[in-house]
């Protein structure tokens, strides 16, 4: 914590307690609120994020989710809550280590300390009720932890949250989170009225009594902090001129499904993709859409294919293991040239892996997955806003090219929230009505254009278009064919469509100068962290730029020219690659990370890579360290 300048001591609190409150102005800060599961820390964090967004701050929030539904109370692995990065400017990623934590018990706090998520010496607002717990082991655990934290240099404030809440409610489990929210609003000099409005919105579906109780607790927390805390922060905000929406990546995807005019989403529950379907299940029906929860992942994909085949391009939303199960069906859609949108919200793999953690491990399986040559389009949103628009783009491409389009999101985007400009609906996002006109005499269901591979699709209901779509090799009439020439012709057509799409893409934009000493290349959710680190180097005068790829298959034109402008190129990814310093690793056996492998093979540049699989979002500090190593 390095305040830019001390502003002024605070005036005495209204209740007469005189606390000398020092106010510090900051560029940014990272706040965490953590509790046992079910104590409402997530709601507190989300509300806090919304309040700071309303006040015009840049914000990025990330859910802290335990792997179990109800982990034992007061357990190190059970931390549940939210991490909020507030900035004076737009915030594009979760940032580095945490500056201030509110913890409802010392055990969940230990979990965060041990995973190195807290900044050395950070401020901790700790519930103090455990000091007087009737259970001796709890008492001693609390005291022991407190001593350790203080000794380790953390600035720990013991807060009687339980006691203070009991002045307002009998069950503090319902409401302590709002007390904490009030404290945070005071700590960050936020407008209490904006906070009240947000609480009313958060509990909008509940009764007036519930809303009023929560506002009362919010005010109590605010007042307590005003009276008792000796610090306060101010982060400048820049007022936005246009409306922003604040959602996580999964909700953005779901809103994209709605906005794209799709009518059916077929899914099977899987972490961390399911929250997209949860939201969609509620919102979709209002515009005549259906979320079909199928009996399994394969059925979900086949169901989507059936609906798409019948004329309504459909989406199926899943995560790694589900994506693996869908492979054969995806191949069928490729072979039959059925438009289909598949969303893969990546998690840690292989196998069950790390369901709640983030990783970019599915790029290769997405591009090369399904047996045989099964060309499909792969796009990877790099921001929460892009999650929204990627679905609209994906449906358009799927229907224009009669292809499978896979959207690769990940747990990082799925559980992070950040504001972006409120989308303004455009009718062009929607598909035209299903063509039910008669097929012209002599037209064939796979009348592949020799140049582009494109063919007009016949939809059931079109008179004269009757044919049997098949997953077998087929000729232009969709007749099963084992003729060598015909198979070659079909393979060519399906592959050419990727080239045809590529011809329509614009070259990607380099972040920074078009030439320099180092080019960092990334894809997907790491965009914000990479660009933040690169920006920092650029401010220091270093000749470093970055390139972020949204279209990964096909890759847009112009990349080779960009690569040629840099002395050294490295990809930074959240997946596996061998460490070249490992004893038995050398150039003959080193396994590169996915994007590096693709770029090396396509452009024949000696592109280096750095990646990690820690399950956590990439931090700008990590990127900084990697860049420094790459430059040395």
């Amino acid at each position: 914590m390095a305040p830019d300048d001390i502003i002024k001591p605070n005036k005495p609190a209204a209740n007469g307690n005189h606390v000398n409150r020092v106010s510090a102005r900051l560029k940014e800060h990272i706040v965490e609120i953590i509790s046992d599961s079910g104590e409402g820390a997530q709601k507190c964090g989300q509300s806090f994020g919304s309040i700071v967004a309303r006040m015009g701050h840049g914000v990025w929030t990330v859910e802290i989710i335990p792997a179990e539904i109800r982990p034992p109370a007061r357990s190190v692995a059970g931390a549940s809550g939210n991490r909020i990065r507030i900035g004076e400017k737009r915030v594009t990623n979760g940032g580095n280590e945490t500056d201030l934590v509110v913890a409802f018990n010392e055990q969940v706090l230990l979990g965060r300390v041990r995973s190195n998520e807290l900044k050395q010496g950070c401020t901790i607002l700790l519930e103090s009720m455990w000091r007087d717990d009737p259970n001796l082991s709890i008492r001693s655990s609390y005291v022991e932890t407190y001593k350790q934290l203080v000794a380790a240099g953390y600035r720990v404030y013991e807060i009687p949250m339980e006691e203070e809440c009991h002045k307002h409610v009998t069950d503090s489990r319902r409401g302590k989170n709002m007390f904490a929210l009030g404290m945070l609003c005071s700590c960050y000099s936020l407008d209490l009225q904006v906070a009240r409005d947000q609480v009313a919105l958060t509990f909008g579906k509940k009764s007036e009594k519930v809303i009023n109780t929560n506002i009362e607790l919010l005010e109590a927390g605010f007042a307590w902090a005003e009276a008792n805390l000796d610090f306060r922060y101010e982060i400048p905000s820049s007022k936005t001129t246009e409306p922003q929406i604040v959602v996580n990546g999964n909700t953005a995807l779901a809103l994209g499904v709605l906005a794209s005019g799709m009518e059916i989403c077929a899914m099977y529950p899987i972490t961390p993709a399911t929250s997209a379907s949860h939201y969609l299940s509620d919102a979709f029906e209002k515009v005549g859409g259906v979320v079909h929860q199928a009996e399994d992942e394969i059925a979900a994909c086949a169901f989507a294919i059936g609906a798409s085949y019948a004329g309504k391009c459909t989406v199926t939303i899943t995560s790694g293991p589900g994506y693996s199960l869908k492979q054969e069906a995806i191949g069928l859609a490729v072979m039959g040239e059925i438009p289909l949108v598949v969303v893969n919200v990546m998690r840690g793999g292989p196998s069950t892996g790390q369901p709640t953690k983030t990783e970019q491990g599915d790029l290769m399986t997405t591009i090369f997955g399904s047996h045989g040559d099964a060309p499909k389009v792969v796009i990877a949103p790099g921001t929460i806003e892009e999650c929204f628009y990627s679905v609209i783009t994906a449906r358009k491409i799927a229907e224009t090219f009669n292809m499978v389009v896979v959207i690769l999101s990940d747990a990082n985007l799925a559980t992070s929230q950040a504001p972006f400009t409120r989308p303004s609906f455009d009718e062009a996002w929607l598909a035209p009505p299903i063509d039910q006109s008669a097929v012209p005499a002599g037209a064939k269901p796979y009348d592949w254009d020799p140049k582009t591979g494109l063919a007009r699709r016949f939809i059931p209901g079109q008179p004269g278009g009757m044919h049997t779509l098949t997953g077998l090799a087929h000729d232009v009439n969709s007749h099963v064919a084992y003729d060598p020439e015909i198979n070659q012709q079909g393979m060519r057509a399906r592959s050419l469509k990727l080239a045809a799409l590529q011809k329509t893409l614009l070259p990607p934009t380099v972040f920074g100068d078009p030439t320099g000493d180092l080019l960092v290349i990334g894809w997907g959710s790491t965009k914000g962290a990479i660009e933040e680190a690169v920006e920092e180097f650029r401010e220091e005068g270093k000749r470093i730029s970055s390139l972020h790829l949204t279209f990964i298959q096909p890759m847009p034109p112009g990349i080779k020219e960009i690569l040629a402008g840099f002395k050294k190129i490295i990809t930074i990814e959240n997946n596996w690659s061998d460490d070249p310093n490992d004893e038995i690793i050398d150039e003959t056996n080193r396994r590169y990370s996915a994007l590096a492998m693709l770029l090396r093979s396509r452009y024949l540049f000696d592109i280096d890579c750095w990646s990690e699989c820690r399950g956590t979002p990439l931090k700008p500090n990590t990127v900084r360290r990697v860049i420094l190593e790459a430059l040395s």
């Binding site: 059916i264 919102a283 515009v287 009996e295 059925a299 059936g306 085949y309 191949g331 039959g336 007749h479």
Partner: protein
């Protein structure tokens, strides 16, 4: 058949009748490549006859199949067809039907396709109860992959994967189907009584809901004598008839004298009948016309307009919008 709602002139009506009148040849396509004597031929003939008799529009009719001998059937229909992947015919058909309730969707599948690799979908298809007509071509053997035991092969069946005879009791598709929630139509027929085969497929087509027909069929290539004892002895066939079920023609009644008047509403008796494989029951075992169809529950009949999507999207966006100070929420 869907009825046009708008009024049309008499001459146009005549023209349409001409356009929409179809002969059986209009539903035929290509020359089936099944073996001589294969039961699939009888099923194909029956569905082509059904299409003609019902005057189905070829462009509004879809035959969906999986993989196997049975699943080649769509290729011989001059309608829309979907020959997909092994075991997954049902979810494909369900997706098509939910998206387009105006289509008549049939499913052709086999004992390996449905009862083995696609068994999960079979159970859930019964539960969804979508308005689909499903034909299980059950020849008790894997044919296309050249003779392996299937789940419905009787114990002791010698095959390439069970050279000393299969080890397990056969799965009974009828009792399984009758045990699933929302079951609404279950019938069994044999390929060597084409008259009943047609009657049952027709009744299944007219049933609103998921119709499950197990068609016991011969495989002349891999199990050529399997059904001979039943074929050659009419006493080993139990014909089910009822005023709410099938009406047996006098000619047929002279040959198949072993009959039972069975009310398809009687689930308990249906389960008892289903348990027998000798005599083999033929007819409609169970029917319940009152089970809601999934597509009726889920499909939104409102005409979807851009305005509707726009308003819906904006209403949702409102929930997440942070308005700049002074802006109206309009």
């Amino acid at each position: 058949m869907k009825v046009a709602t708008q009024t049309i002139s008499a001459s146009e009506c005549l023209l349409r009748m001409y356009d929409e009148h179809h002969e059986i040849e209009d539903y035929q396509k290509g020359v089936p490549r099944w073996c001589t004597g294969c039961g699939d031929n009888a099923i194909l003939t029956a569905v082509q006859r059904l299409c003609r008799d019902e005057g189905l529009l070829p462009e509004k009719t879809v035959f969906v199949s999986g993989i196997g001998c049975s699943s080649r059937l769509p290729h011989y229909m001059n309608t829309y067809g979907f020959h997909g992947i092994h075991g997954r015919a049902l979810p494909v058909a369900e997706g098509a039907k939910l998206a387009r309730p105006d289509l008549d969707v049939f499913v052709n599948t086999g004992d390996g396709d449905c009862c083995s690799i696609g068994a999960a979908h079979w159970i859930h298809a019964v539960r969804y109860n979508m308005d689909l007509t499903m034909m299980l071509h059950d020849n008790q053997i894997y044919g296309l992959t050249k003779k392996q035991a299937s789940p419905t092969s009787p114990i002791g069946t010698k095959s390439n994967t069970t050279p000393r005879g299969s080890y397990l009791e056969a799965l009974n598709p009828l009792t399984v189907t009758l045990g699933i929630s929302n079951v609404s139509f279950v019938a069994q027929v044999v390929d060597w009584i084409p008259e009943v085969l047609y009657q049952v497929i027709s009744a299944a087509f007219h049933h609103k809901g998921f119709s499950f027909i197990r068609i016991v069929q011969r495989c002349p290539e891999w199990l050529p004598k399997q059904m001979d004892p039943w074929m050659h002895d009419p006493q080993r066939v139990l014909l089910l008839h009822h005023e709410n079920g099938l009406e047996i023609s006098p000619a047929l009644a002279k040959v198949y004298t072993k009959m039972e008047e069975h009310d398809p509403a009687n689930m308990n008796r249906a389960r008892e009948i289903a348990s027998s494989d000798d005599p083999i029951p033929v007819g409609i075992l169970y029917r319940d016309d009152d089970i809601p169809c999934y597509e009726d529950v889920r499909h939104d009949s409102r005409l979807r307009t851009a305005e509707m999507v726009k308003n819906g999207l904006n209403a949702e966006l409102d929930k997440f919008t942070v308005w700049p100070e002074g802006a109206t929420h309009a």
